[in-house]
Structures are given as structure tokens and as C-alpha cells.
């Protein structure tokens, strides 16, 4: 089953021009937001109509603008897993799962019990979607898409709305499903971790164009892709707002560490979640004087990871949370850091932004 896609779209602020083939297995569309990933899969699903090109699945033409052929979404037999699970709120979990049953072609059979078993959602059957946790909702949504017996699964950042622990819990399902059910999948993400875990084949997008494509390791090692990937490595740190200063800074506290950030519009005592981009952090073995950066926080090296671009990620434990720092292997050699060593993270205040992605 091969998906072959050629799509062009030009809008005032954005143009898309992609041509690729997705073999069976998991193909990941990787890129930053705004790179055209979602536009591409929406066009494949038939949810987006204003574009040119041709999409075929095996020998079936789903869309051909030259031929003026445009199958409706319901005629394409493509399962779609959305970022927000989009479960039908008026139906129970079981009814959601069975929704596609009445539209299924007779020659298609899916094993309901097998899929329910795989996803571990047997105990949720009678529940209402509103009573499920984020991870459970998403598992039901995966099941619902699979039970429509699709020829292809599209997944649009299905883990993006979940916190770290839920992500880790859900990720193996995608691999397992692909292995056990053999349905090809086109998976959209901006997370390099997900690419490395899942992808058999990666297509890297930037501003509506394909930068490169191929096996995951190879693509992620491409310097252009790596730059995108590294920008996407972020960690979160939970802090408490302790004071507002008259020079436009807010003072935050995480365990014993103090951080200064551009003024946050919240009252004293509120918990503030900070998002730290691995690329923006400086690592040092000692505190540094005579430096503009206002924040120097103590941590210990938790682990050291090699990443495909040839650099390293130093995961530092600060106030009980893990902060990833991206440095070159030369810097690592120079600092001579090992797991368990004490170190100092230097963070420019202006590089810190509050986020709502902390767990809890």
C-alpha cells in the first residue's frame, strides 16, 4: 500500500509545494508549526479543498485537480487521529468506537476485541468522553480511527496536547499498532523524540517545501533539519512567583533557586510554569561573574545523550525537574562533565517564557 502525494497550494502568506511517496510503515512529516504539515494531511484526508495536485493510495485516485476528481472525506477510507481527540460528546466510549461500523464496507473486517485489548480501553466502554483523562481520550480516538478499517491512518500531532508522562505512555501504542495491524501511517509532529521513536521514513518540511526525506537517523542528522529539531527541544520548570520588581522583572522561586524573568502578569504566590529551550541555555561548571545573564541556577548532570546532529544533550536536574541543555561535543569535552557532577545553568531572563505545559 503506497501513498503518493503531490500537492500545491498558494495563499497570500504561505505556499505549499510537496511531492512524496510514503511506503508502508510509519512515515513522519516533521517540521515546525507553519511548515505545512497539517495542510498536507488535511488535503490527503479531503478536509482541505483549495489545492492543486494529485493524491493516490495504492491504485486508487483520491484527488486529482487536473481531472477535477475530488473524493469526499467519507469516500477516502482514511482514518484520522486528531490532536484534540474529537470524541463525540453525546456518545459513550463504546458508541464512539462503533461509530464507523455502519459505514464500513462489507469486505472489510476489523477485530474489535483485538484493538480494544491493544489499546487497553476495555474498562472504559460505558464512560462518557468528558469523564476520561487526556491519555484515555486519545487512546479511544486511536481505536475509533482504527475500527473504521482504514487503508491509511493520518495522525496530526496526536501527543502534542498531553504532558510528558502521558506522551511516553502513548507513544509505544503507535509502534505496536503499526506492527500488529500493518496499516500504513502518516504521522505529523514537531517533536524530534517522536520522530526517532516512531519513524521508518521521515519527510522534513520547512515553509511548505520538503527539505529532505529518508530514514529517520539520516534525516535528523541533516544540519538543516537538526536546527529545526533542536529548536523544538524544550523543558519545563515549575516555579512560584515571589515578587514583582520596579525595573520590569518578576522574581520566581524553584526550590532554593531564584530566577528573574520579564514581568509576569500574575499575583504573588501563583505557580508559574517556565519553558526553557535547550538551545538558549548555557552550561558552566562554576558560577560566573561579570556576565549579563541574570539567572544562574545550580543543578546536577542527570544524563548525557548524543543527538543525531552530532551534538549532545545534557539533562540537568534543577529543583527536582529535568532541564535539557543543548551543547556541542567540543564544549562537553572542555567542561569534562560526567553524570552526577554539579553544574550551573546560565539563563538569560529574556529567553524565558511562561508556558501552560507543566504537569499537574
Amino acid at each position: 500500500m503506497t501513498l503518493s502525494v503531490s500537492l500545491q497550494q498558494s495563499m497570500p502568506n504561505f505556499s505549499l509545494d510537496v511531492t512524496f511517496e510514503a511506503p508502508s510503515g510509519i512515515t513522519v512529516l516533521f517540521g515546525e508549526s507553519g511548515s505545512g504539515k497539517t495542510t498536507t494531511i488535511n488535503a490527503i484526508a479531503g478536509l482541505l479543498t483549495h489545492c492543486e495536485g494529485r493524491v493516490t493510495l495504492s491504485n486508487r485516485v483520491l484527488f486529482d485537480s487536473d481531472d477535477n476528481k475530488h473524493l469526499k472525506p467519507y469516500q477516502r477510507n482514511i482514518g484520522y487521529i486528531f490532536q484534540e481527540s474529537r470524541l463525540f460528546p453525546h456518545l459513550t466510549v463504546e458508541q464512539n468506537l462503533n461509530y464507523a461500523k455502519r459505514f464500513k464496507k462489507a469486505d472489510k473486517s476489523v477485530d474489535f476485541n483485538h484493538i480494544v485489548e491493544l489499546l487497553g480501553i476495555k474498562s472504559l466502554m460505558k464512560r462518557a468522553p468528558s469523564s476520561l483523562s487526556g491519555g484515555e481520550k486519545q487512546r479511544v480516538a486511536i481505536g475509533r480511527a482504527l475500527l473504521s478499517a482504514p487503508d491509511l491512518i493520518l495522525a496530526d500531532e496526536p501527543l502534542a496536547a498531553l504532558d510528558g508522562a502521558r506522551k511516553a505512555e502513548l507513544l509505544p501504542y503507535f509502534k505496536k499498532l503499526n506492527r500488529e495491524l500493518g496499516i500504513p501511517m502518516l504521522y505529523v509532529t514537531h517533536s524530534p523524540q517522536e520522530v526517532l521513536e516512531l519513524a521508518d521514513h521521515v519527510i522534513a518540511l520547512e515553509q511548505g517545501r520538503i527539505v529532505t526525506q529518508g530514514p529517520a537517523r539520516e534525516v535528523m542528522a541533516n544540519s538543516k533539519v537538526a536546527r529545526t529539531a533542536n529548536r523544538a527541544i524544550k523543558s519545563t520548570l515549575t516555579t512560584r512567583l515571589v515578587a514583582h520588581h520596579s525595573d520590569g522583572l518578576s522574581e520566581l522561586q524553584a526550590a532554593n533557586e531564584t530566577l528573574y524573568v520579564p514581568s509576569i502578569d500574575a499575583s504573588i504566590g501563583t505557580s508559574v510554569c517556565l519553558e526553557l529551550v535547550a538551545n538558549d541555555l548555557i552550561l558552566s561548571t562554576t558560577k560566573v561573574d561579570g556576565i549579563s545573564a541574570l539567572n544562574q541556577v545550580n543543578g546536577t548532570v542527570e544524563s548525557i545523550e548524543n543527538i543525531p546532529s552530532g551534538d549532545v544533550l545534557i539533562n540537568v536536574c534543577v529543583a527536582g525537574e529535568i532541564i535539557s541543555t543543548h551543547i556541542t561535543s567540543r564544549s562537553l569535552k572542555k567542561l569534562n562533565l560526567n553524570v552526577g557532577d554539579a553544574c550551573v545553568l546560565i539563563i538569560k531572563s529574556v529567553n524565558i517564557c511562561p508556558s501552560n505545559r507543566c504537569k499537574g
Binding site: A45, G46, L47, K72, P73, Y74, R76, N77, I78, G79, Y80, F82, E84, R86, L87, F88, P89, H90, Y99, A100, R102, F103, K104, A128, P129, S130, R144, A145, S148
Partner: protein
């Protein structure tokens, strides 16, 4: 209760319920259709349709009643055509139902349209990717999700239909037992000396019906939206 109310008063209450019931029942499918068009579709004349639907809300009811009279009256082309098929409106209870339906229509459309607009179109997209054609999406997703609005609209429309006065009295007059609905009866009782006590009873009944309708619609839509929250 039948002791407390005289036969004429009792007849007016029953007639009002009958009129309001049929008015709501018949205008509901049309209201759903038009609300759907107004909420979801773009077409030439959309504002005009919107205007016509809302017209009875703004026009003096007596104007609406007069327009009905010159459209459906016995000697008009439409009236005599319908009469051949055994359908007569003028000076019949069915005419009162027609007038009530038209007057309640904007309220129905409004409530239903709001409930359609509150439905996340992403859910309808999801249903389409699962194999549902547009008709199935409407039947299995849109319609159930707009149910709170339909019920709220129907209850409100029913109450409006029960209280309709101006268009009804203009179109079908005020014939006890035939076309004398609750408000017409109150009006009639107030015209005769000593009618106040009968009028007061009917006023109390009107207040009870209106209040219950409002509470019921509020309760129903709140219960539904709680269930639908995701």
C-alpha cells in the same frame, strides 16, 4: 380544576394548549431546516431570508394577522384552493395554530441556530473521516448535539404560541370554543362587567404556564449541555 374554571374558561385553556402544540410541532422541522441554512450555508439572499424569518418578531402582530387573512382568507386564491382540499384556516382553530406558528417561528429559529453555531465543526469533520456522508453527519452528530437548542426553542415557541393574541384575533377572531385562546378569553372577559374574576384565573394560569415553560427549557438545556461538555 374543572369546578374552579367555568366551561368557557376551561375550553380556552384546552384550545390554547392544542393550538400551541400543533403550532410548535409543525413549525419545528421548518425551523430546524432554516436554522441550519442560516448557521451553516452561504447563499444569495441569506440576509433576506433572515429578515423574513424575524419579521413577525418586529411587525405589529395585527399586521401579521391581517397578512394571513388576505393570504389564507376563504375568498382568496390560496384560501379557496386549500379549501378544496379540506384545509381551512380562516376562523378555525387551525388558523389560530397557523398564526401562532408564524409568531413563534423566529424564537424557534433563533434558539436552534445558536445551538448549531455552538457545535464544533471539527466533530463533524471527524465523523466524515470515519465514513459518514453529509446526511449521516447531520443525523448522528449535528442533530443530537443541537437537541438542547431544539428543546429550548420548542418550549419557548410553545409558550409564545400559547400567549399569541394580536395576529390570532385578527386572523381567526374570538369565537368561544372555536378560536378563543387563553389571551383572547382574558381580553373578552375584561370587556364584560363582572368578568374580572374569570380573567384573573386565566391570568394566573398564563403566568404558571409561561413560568413553567421557561424553567423547563432552562433546566433541560442546562442538563443537556452538562452532559455534552467535553
Amino acid at each position: 380544576m374543572s369546578d374552579w374554571l367555568g366551561p368557557n374558561e376551561w375550553a380556552a385553556v384546552l384550545l390554547s394548549i392544542k393550538v400551541a402544540f400543533w403550532a410548535t410541532l409543525f413549525s419545528l422541522p421548518a425551523a430546524i431546516g432554516i436554522a441550519y441554512l442560516l448557521a451553516k450555508k452561504e447563499f444569495v439572499g441569506k440576509q433576506l431570508l433572515n429578515g423574513i424569518v424575524h419579521l413577525p418578531l418586529i411587525l405589529p402582530p395585527v399586521v401579521t394577522g391581517y397578512l394571513l387573512l388576505i393570504t389564507f382568507g376563504k375568498r382568496t386564491p390560496i384560501g379557496s384552493f386549500l379549501a378544496e382540499w379540506g384545509i381551512e384556516f380562516a376562523f378555525r382553530w387551525s388558523g389560530a395554530a397557523l398564526a401562532a406558528a408564524i409568531m413563534a417561528f423566529p424564537l424557534l429559529v433563533r434558539a436552534i441556530r445558536l445551538s448549531i453555531e455552538a457545535i464544533d465543526p471539527k466533530l463533524e469533520e471527524a465523523a466524515a473521516t470515519l465514513g459518514a456522508s453529509r446526511r449521516w453527519v447531520f443525523l448522528t452528530i449535528t442533530l443530537p448535539l443541537m437537541l438542547p437548542g431544539i428543546i429550548a426553542g420548542a418550549v419557548l415557541g410553545f409558550a409564545k404560541a400559547m400567549g399569541e393574541f394580536g395576529a390570532t384575533i385578527t386572523f381567526v377572531s374570538n369565537i368561544p370554543g372555536q378560536t378563543q385562546t387563553l389571551p383572547s378569553a382574558i381580553y373578552a372577559f375584561l370587556q364584560v362587567p363582572g368578568g374580572e374574576s374569570s380573567a384573573t384565573k386565566l391570568v394566573i394560569i398564563s403566568i404558571i404556564i409561561a413560568m413553567s415553560a421557561l424553567l423547563a427549557s432552562e433546566w433541560l438545556s442546562r442538563r443537556m449541555s452538562r452532559r455534552l461538555q467535553s
